[in-house]
Symmetry: C2
Subunit: 104 residues, 2 copies
Amino acid sequence: MLSILPVRDTLDVIGGKWKILILISIMEGNHHFREIERSIPNLSTKVLSDQLKDLETNQLISRSVSNGFPVRTAYTLTEHGKTLQKLILEMHNWGVLHRKKIIQ
Amino acid sequence: MLSILPVRDTLDVIGGKWKILILISIMEGNHHFREIERSIPNLSTKVLSDQLKDLETNQLISRSVSNGFPVRTAYTLTEHGKTLQKLILEMHNWGVLHRKKIIQ
DNA sequence: GTAATCAGTTACTTCAAGGTAAGTGGTTAC
DNA sequence: GTAACCACTTACCTTGAAGTAACTGATTAC
């Protein structure tokens, strides 16, 4: 008997059009704002900014600003964010399976 | 290097507010239209009807109509639909973990 | 014969996620 | 000193998912 709330919580956090893409981009080594932006086609600065705030609020990523000049911000996965990796891999694998099934 | 498309495919199929809830309801033994509708609070007939069509298009559920009277429709998971169970369980588990982390 | 149930459809509205475009304030390269 | 880059913000607009409400057509119970 699965209760519904936890699954909805998960979708709130990683659902939508961009959140998973941004997480994957950071996982793959893109840590700066423009770097992440350039790595994901059609992602606007406004949407990226909004989504990064959401991800930070949910403690999946952390934002740090270097004290030196030029000031550079760096986004990294938190330990909590890293617990998503297995789930993202599962979603990837199921997506591949599904595409094979549907497109044939 | 995870490509983005498969994860997006997965979200297209199980994302949104209702699809996973409907799948879980069917998994738990609700097979008739009104049965599914009653099992999920605040779900309207129109939305249920739309979502069931989507799920059928994606070959996750199948719709069968009994030849006898009264005509009853039955929605069941396909074999392909059953491959989602592991992923849904993962989403459930991560949701529980996340709620602990955020709400404390 | 009328009230209720099943399995939906149709027409219309609302709303939040996402998109567009321009601007801000600082730094660096030449 | 001006052009370009970094890291955004602000204001406004668009669109599609979801919600509301009423209706359909068949069957069954009383």
